[in-house]
């Protein structure tokens, strides 16, 4: 059984659409951080937000009228991925399609608002309109309704590695011959509360830039958006392997777990590794793993340009890997300090011939996963 990526949809702080975002990455652009404000008036945090124009193609649907931002990002990315597949000549039969949705923090804005009402005014003030949108699978439900999916729909929860785990689940689902397609979506939305939590968790910095692979990590900046790919039995980039992933007990163990996963997925033959190095403790572990398991691979992370997209990041990385393979191009790696402990191959933007790319996700909360892609 061979599986392929047949369509992609991308909603990011650098805009929407694979071609548009890719062009901006190639030019070395990075998203502008904006204030994320607390309705109660506490000091704001900085985060990368999706511009309103990025949702210009969002379908009109009753389910999306009151839906959370994360649901709207996912709907835009999911429909774009299907459109992309159809434009590439893949006939999608929705009756033979499953949906796997990767999520991390979920509809955090509605959840904060819902619980705030309870804390501030008591249970009687709780909104029955908000509560259903706080459920982790609400975005998947909206997307399934939008697309008319009536078969298997799964929401997978996890940290920044969850998008790659979702691709592994998609691969498992496709062993069922009743399925010909699986739409895999990852999404995230920013909120003041999330930034506050990650700050208290000592993972954020107050302002960009995100500096991957720095000697000492300075922290990351949260981001939002969605990525979606159509997994099919034919397409333009082959999924050569997915890995079910692993867990690390503590930060010291992360490098070893990541190395094992890279070796098991065959990264030694990879020309490129797309990581999610994001300016936190994961960078050193990723550097360690790559230097041992894929020492000759070119290394790229889009986190300085797009931010840490958590639930969306695995799908963003996959889109970057796939589009890089197809276009034989590579965006410049931004803000990787020359004096860092790890010196990834960092060619100038432009053509970069390569045939196999490994995508690795080391999440901030104990999970690691990987996927390997190659040109068809």
């Amino acid at each position: 059984m061979s599986l392929y990526l047949a369509g992609m949809g991308w909603i990011t702080p650098l805009g929407s659409g694979v071609a548009e975002v890719w062009e901006r990455l190639l030019r070395g652009e990075e998203a502008l951080a904006e204030d994320v404000v607390d309705p109660s008036g506490r000091p704001p945090y900085r985060a990368f937000r999706v511009p309103a124009a990025a949702l210009k193609d969002l379908p009109v649907h009753a389910r999306l009228r009151r839906a959370s931002a994360i649901s709207r990002f996912a709907a835009a990315a999911g429909t774009a991925a299907l459109r992309d597949a159809r434009e590439k000549g893949v006939e999608i039969d929705v009756a033979r399609m499953a949906l796997v949705f990767a999520i991390s923090n979920g509809g955090v804005s509605y959840t904060r608002r819902f619980y705030h009402d309870i804390v501030a005014s008591g249970a009687g003030a709780a909104s029955p309109l908000l509560f259903p949108e706080t459920v982790f699978n609400a975005p998947a439900s909206h997307l399934a309704a939008l697309l008319g999916i009536t078969g298997a729909t799964y929401t997978l929860v996890g940290d920044g590695a969850v998008g790659l785990s979702a691709l592994n689940m998609a691969e498992e689902l496709m062993t069922d011959e009743a399925l010909d397609y699986c739409l895999v979506v990852g999404a995230e939305e920013t909120d003041w509360l999330l930034s506050d939590a990650y700050t208290k968790w000592r993972l954020l910095r107050s302002q960009p830039p995100i500096e991957p692979f720095a000697c000492s990590p300075h922290g990351t900046i949260l981001s939002e958006g969605a990525g979606a790919v159509v997994v099919a039995r034919r397409g333009f980039v082959r999924i050569t392997a997915t890995h079910p992933g692993g867990s690390y007990k503590n930060r010291r163990q992360l490098g070893d777990v990541a190395e094992t996963i890279l070796r098991e997925i065959g990264a030694s033959s990879a020309d490129r590794v797309v990581t999610n190095a994001n300016g936190t403790f994961v960078d050193a572990a990723e550097a360690f793993a790559i230097s041992r398991a894929a020492p000759k691979a070119h290394v790229y992370t889009a986190a300085p340009a797009l931010g840490e997209g958590v639930g969306a990041s695995g799908l963003w990385q996959t889109i970057i890997a796939a589009h890089g393979l197809v276009t034989r191009s590579v965006p410049p790696l931004l803000h990787a300090p020359a004096g860092g402990s790890f010196h990834p191959a960092n060619p100038a933007a432009g053509e970069w011939p390569h045939r196999q790319t490994v995508v690795m996700g080391c999440g901030l909360n104990q999970q690691v996963a990987a996927v390997s892609l190659a040109l068809s």
Binding site: A123, P128, F136, L156, G158, D159, S165, E172, W201
Partner: protein, 408 residues
């Protein structure tokens, strides 16, 4: 892991160990005893204030029971959410039955994981209290943390998938775990579900007026809502030949699984019952059996007006009034992501003991839907094949078929 190893179709999936902690009891034995006597384990909520809620009861696990069952205490217990302790308790029970079981994959279901830590963080933030504990609350709040920590505490490593398909999560997890074995990709998968009672979720269901101020009466004509519950259940699954070859004790078999999505509404099922019906039909087909082979259905049966009506129609269409049906949620409440896993364990116990678990607080069913409800008292019956349903917000529907191993 790679495509080089193609799946071997239709392998069989044995349950070689199980553990459970719910309001019905800590462990398989106490759970069975509660089922036998139809014990109502729903009590007034004590974990948070419910003065302004319509519903004021839930199925709860006492702190002392949780402490004893999980063995987690002292300073190291502070980072544990209650749901994580529940998983540890259930997992340790399963490990005692089959100490040699080492899964290659773990697939669990939950809806809210460590939600109570998130609540503590937000309350402290808004009250301007000290946030000294905030990093611990935040790091342990994500829904996947309880199972990752429980696996670590029980000496299990390896990949872990956590499904959050609302109230169907537990059944989805079991179904996916079984499918991973049937496909030939894995021989041993650990599965189950967990959820602890939390204020946010409790008030949420109350705000929707989905929770009852009275007794939870699944399938009763006078039903007016659910009560929440909490708990965890664990099932150790293994490819049948592998389990037999090593002489594992077989509790039963996961014979079939079906999943469907109903796009009618985010919180209400299609009244026609099309979603549940499709999940059940798919589960039966997956098991290679017809509806006439099913001896008992453990229904989702939340006792909300709409759920029970839609499920009742689907059950009546598929099984008529031939098959005994009960919802065990009247006894223990609805434990959301744990429910499907707990109810799968209940099906295994029911087959093992040839016991039909009761649907308590039942007086009269809907006139339009003829179901054979196991009303109020457990009954004896030969049970070889059972079906367990779970349906959730988002229109997600899941059914699993369980079979007595000696019958297979």
């Amino acid at each position: 892991m790679t495509f080089s190893a193609l799946p071997v179709k239709n392998r069989r999936v044995a349950v070689v160990a199980a553990g459970v902690l719910s309001p019905l009891g800590a462990g398989l034995g106490p759970t069975l005893e509660s089922l036998r006597v139809g014990r109502d384990c729903v009590t007034p909520v004590t974990r948070f204030p419910v003065d302004h809620c319509r519903c004021q009861t839930a199925g709860q696990i006492g702190d002392s029971i949780l402490l004893e069952a999980s063995g987690i205490e002292g300073p190291r217990g502070a980072r544990w959410d209650r749901s994580g302790r529940m998983v540890v308790a259930a997992l340790r029970e399963a490990q005692r039955q089959d100490p040699g079981f080492q899964p290659q994959l773990t697939v669990f279901g939950t809806t809210s994981g460590g939600m109570t830590f998130g609540e503590q963080y937000y309350r402290a933030l808004r009250a301007e209290q000290t946030l000294r504990r905030a990093p611990r609350w935040i790091a342990n709040y994500p829904p996947q943390k309880p199972i990752i920590d429980a696996l670590e505490a029980c000496g299990i490593s390896g990949p872990c998938q956590v499904i959050a398909n609302a109230c169907a999560s537990g059944t989805n997890a079991i179904g996916r775990a079984a499918a991973c074995i049937r496909s030939g990709r894995y021989d041993r998968v650990l599965t189950g579900g967990y959820d602890a009672l939390s204020e946010l979720v409790f008030v949420g269901f109350d705000s929707l007026q989905a929770a009852t101020p009275d007794k939870c009466r699944p399938f009763d004509r006078e039903r007016n809502g659910m009560v929440l519950g909490e708990g965890a259940a664990v099932l150790a699954l293994e490819e049948m030949n592998s389990a037999r070859q090593r002489g594992a004790h077989l509790l039963g078999e996961i014979a079939g699984y079906g999943i469907s999505t109903d796009n009618h509404h985010l919180t209400q099922p299609d009244p026609s019952g099309v979603g549940p019906r499709r999940a059940m039909v798919e589960a039966l087909a997956s098991a290679g059996i017809g509806a006439d082979a099913v001896d008992y259905v453990n229904a989702h049966g939340t006792a909300t007006t709409f759920n029970d009506a839609a499920e009742g129609i689907a059950l009546a269409e598929l099984f008529g009034d031939r098959v005994p049906v009960s919802s065990t949620k009247g006894m223990m409440g609805h434990s959301l992501g744990a429910a499907g896993a707990i109810e799968a364990v209940i099906c295994l116990l029911a087959m093992q003991e040839n016991l039909l678990p009761p649907n308590i607080h039942f007086q009269r069913g809907d006139e339009a839907v003829a179901l054979t409800i196991v009303a109020n008292e457990a009954r004896s019956a030969e049970l070889n094949t059972t079906l367990s349903n779970s349906f959730g917000f988002g229109g997600t529907n899941a059914s699993v078929v369980l079979r007595k191993t000696s019958h297979a």
